[in-house]
Symmetry: C2
Subunit: 207 residues, 2 copies
């Protein structure tokens, strides 16, 4: 049975044992993609950050917390998959230092933290991608975002990019545009993540 790797949900980057940086990604896009993959008779292999979403019981789900863990697990699993869809919203930054003790609230009211880039999961997968594998990026951009989305797809050696807006975070309906590697706008769609998942899979899996 063909396997498709799906990264899903947010990641967490801890400042101390209690506090972390994250985002509102619900994992709903990943769950919708997993359902569409199963419907096409393939197996969804999900690497997911912490989320309360219900993935299909037949999906192969791997839970992680940090971006580094998502990368490591995805690299292990990608080899056996026909392609990867990067539906996760990993934290782009992580605190440079982790404090093993809970950081005390400063008396003077100000505190500064240094952050460093987390590894780019799709870019890392793009580097080991064989010619019989494909990859799809999601770009969540404020503003029109088309140029940023195309740049992102090329930098990560992806075959398609799905552009959507921050308004879609945690919601079930959104507006999406899908571009192919030539930069051509192949799908413009307003509707549910489930229907988008079906459209995307048909596009990616068609010869």
């Amino acid at each position: 049975m063909s396997k498709i790797l799906i990264t899903s949900g947010p990641t967490r980057e801890y400042l101390d044992p209690v506090r972390y940086l994250t985002n509102g990604s619900s994992g709903r896009m990943g769950a919708a993609l997993a359902e569409a993959v199963l419907q096409q008779g393939m197996l969804p292999v999900i690497v997911s950050g912490p989320t309360a979403v219900a993935y299909p019981p037949d999906a192969d789900v791997h839970w992680i917390e940090t971006t580094e863990q998502m990368l490591e697990r995805s690299l292990q699993l990608f080899t056996d998959c026909v392609g990867v869809i990067g539906a996760a919203a990993p934290c782009d930054f992580r605190p440079t230092a982790f404090s093993s003790q809970k950081i005390t609230k400063p008396n003077d009211g100000g505190i500064s933290f240094q952050f460093t880039n987390t590894p780019d999961i799709l870019a890392a997968l793009g580097k080991i991608k064989r010619s019989d594998q494909w990859s799809v990026a999601f770009a969540l951009e404020t503003g029109s975002g088309e140029a940023k989305a195309l740049e992102k797809m090329r930098r990560k050696h992806c075959d398609f990019v799905v552009l959507n807006a921050p308004e879609s975070i945690g919601r079930d309906e959104a507006s999406f545009q899908i571009f192919d590697a030539m930069g051509e706008r192949r799908i413009v769609f307003v509707g549910s993540k489930r229907v988008l998942a079906e459209k995307l899979l048909r596009l990616v899996c068609s010869p």
Copy 2:
């Protein structure tokens, strides 16, 4: 019907439209307290940050996102309540600046953010607390934490403080110690948040 105010869950402090600082507070302690309050024939008034927890249907739930919003709503609601239990884990820091555009990943790999203290909700309620009202703080401390918990209770003008460890975040079982305003250890308990809630309420509501 007597009302008890319960703050519950985490808060979120946004860096930009996508990213925020938060913690893993599940709201389970708040939900357990609400159930115990209902069982004693009183009405739980909950001010809650975003969480997937199921509060009792008969509770009066007010949803907020940021610490500032939790403070504002709690100040409005406290006047009509006999007491407040601060079971929430509000973010202690918020980014000094909010970027209305999604912050771009820096090319050189490093970025620094300035944070400032958020308002202290229980301390603010402590200032307007009448002599016929009471307040309970929760202290989540790494290490032994007793001195920090007692200092926290006094600074916030609380009548009791519940000390627990970060291990209890998001879990249903934990170990707790409850101290009164004199610094006396009144309850030492290992068990479920639900049983702790009952013990705490009996202690607080006893004449």
